[in-house]
């Protein structure tokens, strides 16, 4: 069948099962936007290309399926660089299609030309400049395969205008769809080595103070149920990292919550005092380890990761297993059952140490006095307790993100969407929109900071016009709060360029101008009614401007460069 590159591109996306593209057209990608009119794929027109990338990420986080974004060349490609880097750091499966100037113009400083593949080489799992129309179906097939298998990640496909423009002879091709992908250099190892799995099982059965250290890889591998089964089989506590929250339900008695710079005392100290860390899809990030030389000094390490380059990258494992987290956990459960789990050491003193810490060092904050601004933790508790248990929550980056990670109860996997590795301010609004598009059956809230909100708020226009009813809670403390906290604690309260103002912009009016319902809440008794009203609105986005107390700091805190054992519980 004769076709052209543009039609073949859309057809290829349909065959990959794409149901939605987040994008924005422009000169170089124009020919591809024509066949979209006749395609069953939904296209969501964003207001800024960064929004398209983060929406695709939110969609992928919530559904487990690859997010797809399509934008034009030049400035559109540079605008989507941040989401690509974000997805690369957090292993989010994305396929991003960028337009490019015609093949004859490449390298001539043509209008809206940038070297997109050169620019994104180090922040994509793979990228490819397609130069012939007949390569398009093959490259798209490969892109989805690479993005979604092994360690997931973003793949960028850069497509020059002439090979997709039906009026240009360079776009002519015969349609085909490859039966399989042929990538001889790409063979992710899924199954763990049985000998290593048995070695890991023996270490576990001999350990007196074990901790399961579950990261984002648990969720990427859809291994949450397997993780819970492993923890229950062994009766071993679990910490869930920022990217792994929800990997085991927070209300599970074995769940200790989040470790790391702003983790709770018990989670942090359980790792410090452990004699065996079982790292599953986690990468010993500096925000988790604190000062590396003093991290978990007595612990042996079992490290399971789909990416062999993670094993030994930061901390050398005693047993390092390359493989898919779900498969390896299932194999580990088999091995443990064969060896017999009844012979484990008595861990009652370890359990009582942990429960003693939990009792002595709970998360805490002081309620506001009359006339004071809202406590952000109070707002989060109200939101947590008055939304469905399977509500999806997205956040930006900063204090509000850490408070949400601390105070929310993630009792379901795939309900927590945030920017962990790159720490991208402005992530929340577009990510929440993408999540709601992928899971229209779920309630989706974004918890955002006022600084973050100003970076990507324009995407609420997208949400309003597309009738995507996300709900945004701005914890508005009028500051770049996390920077303020560091300046207060480490720069002798010399506040430099962190004040934003509580009412410039007027968030309620701004929300209304963007087609949303806008509310402002200033006193504790108004918090619940506002949340309830927002929960009932299902035909447009809602924004609530919660006026919060800028003096509140995120605790506990392990100061940067300090050992986790120097954790500061509060003031």
């Amino acid at each position: 069948m004769k076709t052209n590159g543009g039609a073949a591109l859309i057809k290829s996306l349909e065959l990959e099962g794409v149901e939605v593209i987040f994008g924005l057209p422009g000169g170089a990608i124009l020919p591809v936007y024509d066949p979209i009119i006749d395609s069953p794929i939904r296209h969501i027109l964003v207001r800024h290309e960064q929004g398209a990338g983060h929406m695709a990420e939110g969609y992928a986080h919530a559904t487990g399926r690859p997010g797809v974004a399509m934008v034009t060349s030049g400035p559109a490609a540079t605008n989507i660089v941040t989401p690509l880097a974000d997805a690369y750091m957090d292993s989010v499966p994305l396929v991003v299609i960028t337009g490019q100037v015609g093949t004859a113009g490449i390298g001539t400083d043509a209008f809206q030309e940038v070297d997109t593949v050169g620019m994104t080489r180090s922040i994509t799992k793979h990228n490819e400049l397609v130069t012939r129309a007949e390569d398009i179906p093959r490259v798209i097939r490969e892109a989805f395969h690479i993005a979604t298998t092994g360690r997931p990640g973003p793949v960028l496909v850069d497509i020059p205008k002439d090979i997709v423009d039906p009026t240009n002879p360079n776009s002519a091709m015969d349609w085909y769809w490859p039966d399989s992908v042929d990538l001889p250099g790409y063979n992710p190892q899924m199954d763990g080595d049985p000998a290593l799995i048995e070695a890991a099982a023996r270490l576990i059965l001999a350990s007196e103070r074990p901790v399961l250290y579950a990261g984002g890889g648990i969720l990427k591998a859809r291994a949450a149920e397997a993780l819970t089964a492993l923890a229950e089989l062994l009766d071993i506590p679990v910490v869930t990292t920022l990217m792994g929250r929800g990997g085991i339900p927070d209300d599970h008695p074995l769940c200790l919550g989040m470790p790391g710079m702003h983790g709770n005392y018990t989670a942090v100290m359980s790792m410090q005092e452990s004699d065996l860390l079982i790292a599953l899809g986690s990468r010993f990030d500096d925000r988790v380890t604190g000062k590396l030389a003093e991290f978990a000094p007595h612990a042996k390490i079992i490290h399971v990761d789909i990416d062999p380059a993670e094993l030994g990258k930061v901390r050398r494992p005693d047993v390092g297993i390359t493989g898919d987290c779900r498969l390896v956990i299932e194999e580990l459960i088999n091995a443990l059952n064969i060896l017999g789990v009844d012979s484990q050491p008595d861990r009652s003193s370890w359990r009582s140490t942990l429960s003693g810490w939990q009792e002595k060092y709970p998360l805490k904050y002081a309620q506001s006095e009359t006339g004071e601004l809202l406590k952000p933790q109070f707002v989060l508790e109200q939101l947590r307790d008055n939304t469905p248990d399977d509500c999806i929550v997205a956040s930006g980056v900063g204090q509000h993100q850490m408070w949400t990670a601390q105070y929310w109860k993630f009792n379901h996997p795939y309900t927590w969407i945030n920017s962990g590795g790159l720490g991208t301010m402005g992530f929340a609004v577009p990510a929440a929109i993408g999540a709601k598009v992928g899971r229209p059956d779920r309630m989706v809230w974004a918890v955002d900071g006022d600084g973050c909100f100003q970076m990507t708020a324009q995407e609420l226009v997208t949400a309003a016009s597309e009738r995507i009813p996300v709900k945004i809670a701005i914890l508005n403390n009028a500051y770049l709060g996390m920077v303020r906290q560091w300046q207060e604690m480490f720069y002798e309260e010399r506040y430099s360029e962190v004040y934003l103002s509580p009412d410039l912009p007027d968030y309620k009016m701004w929300a209304e101008a963007m087609g949303c319902v806008g509310m402002r809440v200033e006193s504790p008794e108004d918090v619940l009614p506002a949340i309830q009203r927002a929960n009932e609105i299902d035909d447009r986005p809602v924004v609530i401007d919660f006026r919060t107390d800028a003096r509140e700091k995120v605790f506990p805190m392990v100061p940067a460069g300090k050992s986790n054992s120097d954790i500061v519980v509060g003031e």
Binding site: R121, S122, L129, L183, G185, A309, G312
Partner: protein
């Protein structure tokens, strides 16, 4: 011209890659972003024209090299990586140079070329273009000899290497 003696910390990576545009940039980019200096690099298609072999000589400690090898292996276009210990590899390199030699020294110069088994590729009244294909260490010695004359230009290809048979 850099004719430093071959250093002991050198590691040789022999990398088979798909012969496609941009692959060399992906490989060299991994070294560049970690601020590892590539000492020499040679790349050309193998007997299979769809596959190229890149021979990279790097000067790093072994721990970061293990990490960069794993990162290299993650590149979709990289097919196989072998780290060759210099003692376990057959290594060859080609040097060509243009040298001006005083007329009185011509015969001695030609005689010395013979002892190195170097070739004379071109000559005129006072200049010679010579070449030598040998081990990197022998090339270092040859380069030092050429340096005792008026060396106009010297170029080395970088090492190619294959694992020894035993």
């Amino acid at each position: 011209m850099n004719t430093n003696p071959t250093e002991v910390r050198h590691h040789i990576l022999s990398v088979l890659v798909e012969n496609k545009p941009g692959v060399l940039a992906r490989v060299s980019g991994l070294f560049a972003r970690r601020a590892f200096n590539i000492y020499s690099l040679a790349v050309a298609p193998t007997n299979d024209p769809s596959v190229s072999r890149i021979s990279i000589v790097v000067d790093v400690e072994s721990a970061p090299l293990e990490q960069i090898t794993k990162q290299l292996d993650k590149l979709i276009n990289v097919l196989l990586i072998e780290e060759l210990a210099p003692s376990a590899a057959v290594q060859r390199e080609l040097l060509i140079a243009t040298v001006v030699v005083t007329t009185s020294g011509h015969q001695a110069f030609r005689d010395t070329l013979g002892t190195f088994s170097a070739k004379l590729l071109d000559e005129n009244a006072d200049s010679f273009i010579v070449s030598l294909e040998d081990t990197p260490e022998r090339l270092d010695v040859f380069a030092a000899f050429l340096g005792s004359h008026h060396l106009v230009a010297l170029e080395r290809t970088g090492r190619v290497a294959l694992p020894r048979l035993s």
